[in-house]
Assembly symmetry: C2
Homo-oligomer: 438 residues x 2
């Protein structure tokens, strides 16, 4: 394909992101074409409802309600899968890849569930699958890990990958407001979905963590192989306690690799981060990722993690990379795509996932309770680092906040089960991890 | 070039960075080769003194004291120019490029002074010039701007690009210590060069700013076309005053583009940054860059800006990109390299470079001084926002700290000249810019 040739792009799905891609690619087309060195033609778009009016005006002749007619169209070089969901999106993606096309996707759930199948289909048929927009919106984190930091192994990657949760946590902290109130307000403002569970229970973050873990370590980790905990049980009191201890609270994805044991751990949980940590200060809908490489040390990336424009920026960068690749010819592949036979690592067993813990218990306000709690913890060799006792919101009850020295998930989960069984513990304990990261 | 072929790499210059590249490329070779899909052979290295002992052991047969023998060697595909300086480095770079080789460089002074010549030579002979390591060490900021954010125009890029200055400023603030003491300690620890002027007077930052400005805006800006001011006149009192006003102080490169006027401004100066700004909290030898794109919004990148390992990480990522490019064949080019005819923009005149200012004057402690100072400022329509008056370290003198509402460089430079001429102003005024950036 020479400089004077045209790359034809089909967009499947014209929701918020699809319209953003169409809009910005149209507005910046001349600059993009100059940078990439080929003509970029937005050839076709597939929508669910042909009669719906949209903010972005597209000639009727370019519209179809059949995504497969784009995936199967021999004149289309690049298919942007912006449909969402994992059923139709998977079929359209695989169809396009079987034709050797390049697919650009922002769909983290799709990649998390079907990544292995998608990547192997791309390889088999000489297609390519690009997914910069799937993690951390407009931040070019995929490219950073895959190309910019190619010289590195990654002992630790962690960060804020869900803007909805970070918005809610930031508001709870700043306004001293309970979770339910902030969530309701976030829904009203359009920062949270009507069904918020994908976000607040950590699943969206887990999908993105799976993508990053695969990129950095070459292994697909399913969400049921991770610890995944959400933010719905955090209270304003937790922020106050954390602040007294010198911490903020963030929902983090944490991906750690122990190269000596050759073990990988992927987890999603609310985490106490030291107030001086830059990520503890990333607020609102912003995302931030800390990437520690064995050569480069720790690098940090932040920006808007979602929204039409930020996501479109990432999708368009993939389109530019794809067009540049097409210019090089079909046989080419990108950095990282050659990586077909990565040595596998095993998943870390719970006893090797270690950190300090923050534990909040609602207990009967009576003598001997702390002794009973402490004795359960001692049984599992969990050493207490600090204790804060406050009156509870319930009468006759107290709130007991304990932090521990370093322990591990196996010991802590056993401890939790025994604590729950104590008659003097009135509610399920709230467990937060402490992230003493640099 | 097929998968089974070998890319031969020559390293010119085996100082700290060169040895780091040799060490890490050797240690991580298997992983890198798998990711790139070609064999990587560290074929030769050029040193100044063949007899010098080095931490990294290299077979004598691979060593030469003639960089040109590597630049002219037909078997070498990639030449890493890690010599430093701008004379020999330029000649070696141009020689290699004239042979159509790929040159990887960490040399910001070279690029700043001779970038236009180097890039045009690369284009003319089908060579390529990569320079990820030249700005912000291991942070993949070049790749982010050139590829990851390719969909964007850049109204503002700013950041900390010199770790030595940031270390000195951080120590001055944390230890309440004068500049000279901290500089001496930095030299003792190896964080500052014996001749510190390149760093502390802002020239190293200016070289890097020129590279970023060219990448983002396609225009080479010479350092004598920039405002370049260093950190040597900042005192612990400035940190205290800034803190009272809610700011920290950082040496920043600031690159702004006014797309309506089509004007570009590149400047380097100590800047008051709001305490809540993430970059205000980046301390020690770390670098950080904020990139605002018209599509993506503001994204941020931070990490170690210098040192053997971080710089080697960036050089090796360029080697990997170069090897991947060679695999595609000679005609290929990277994203951004097609960009040969960028529309030019003009440099902003001083009256269009606008910000708020912090001005510290050492004045005679006598009646009427504030009135005289204020009247000079009023003459240039500079509106005073706040005044702090403190006793000066000199007897009979006072320290007068003024902040202004938004003004511009022309008005401020005229004001400064007239203030200096006042008999009651005892020292050259200290001028800091206020960066009310998001």
């Amino acid at each position: 394909m020479s400089d004077s040739m045209t790359v034809n792009i089909g967009i499947c799905g014209l929701g918020t992101v699809g319209q953003g891609v169409w809009k910005h690619l149209t507005a910046n087309r001349a600059d993009l074409e100059r940078r990439v060195g080929v003509k970029l033609n937005l050839a076709r778009a597939a929508v669910r409802d042909l009669r719906k009016t949209r903010a972005v005006k597209i000639p009727a002749a370019k519209l179809t309600d059949d995504s497969f007619s784009i995936a199967n169209d021999p004149s289309i070089h690049i298919v942007c899968e912006l449909i969402g969901g994992t059923k139709l999106a998977r079929e359209v993606t695989l169809t396009a890849l079987r034709h050797g096309k390049i697919v650009v996707s922002a769909n983290k759930a799709l990649i998390c569930e079907h990544g292995a199948e998608i990547i192997s289909t791309a390889r088999k048929h000489g297609g390519h699958f690009f997914f910069e927009a799937s993690v951390a919106g407009g931040i070019p984190i995929i490219k950073a890990i895959r190309e910019g930091l190619v010289a590195n192994h990654f002992p630790r990657i962690y960060g804020i990958l869900n803007g909805t949760c970070n918005y809610i946590l930031t508001q709870m902290e700043d306004q001293d407001a309970p979770y339910a109130d902030v969530l309701a307000e976030a829904k009203r403002l359009g920062y949270a979905e009507a069904d918020e569970s994908l976000d607040v229970d950590g699943w969206d973050t887990a999908h993105k963590a799976a993508v990053l873990a695969w990129l950095a370590h070459g292994r697909w980790v399913k969400t049921d192989q991770m610890i995944v905990e959400g933010i719905s049980r955090i209270t304003p009191a937790d922020f106050k306690n954390a602040s007294v201890l010198g911490y903020g609270i963030k929902l983090l994805a944490v991906i750690t690799r122990d190269f000596k044991r050759d073990e990988l751990s992927v987890r999603v949980h609310p985490t106490l981060l030291p107030e001086g940590n830059v990520i503890a200060n990333v607020s609102g809908v912003f995302n931030a990722v800390s990437v520690t490489g064995d050569v480069v040390g720790t690098t940090l990336y932040s920006g808007r993690g979602a929204g039409q424009d930020a996501t479109a920026s990432a999708v368009i960068s993939d389109i530019a990379d794809a067009a540049s690749l097409l210019k090089h010819g079909k046989g080419a592949h990108l950095l990282g795509e050659a990586d077909e036979s990565v040595p596998t690592c095993r998943l870390a067993p719970p006893e090797n996932i270690r950190c300090r813990y923050y534990l909040r218990l609602t207990v009967k306000d009576e003598p001997g309770v702390l002794a009973r709690v402490a004795s359960v913890m001692a049984r599992h060799r969990i050493s207490i680092a600090s204790v804060i006792q406050n009156p509870s919101e319930y009468s006759g009850a107290a709130s007991l906040v304990l932090t521990t020295h370093e322990s591990n998930e196996r010991a802590m989960q056993r401890t939790l089960r025994q604590l729950k069984a104590l008659g003097s513990v009135l509610e399920d304990p709230v467990l937060l991890r402490i992230g003493d990261f640099e």
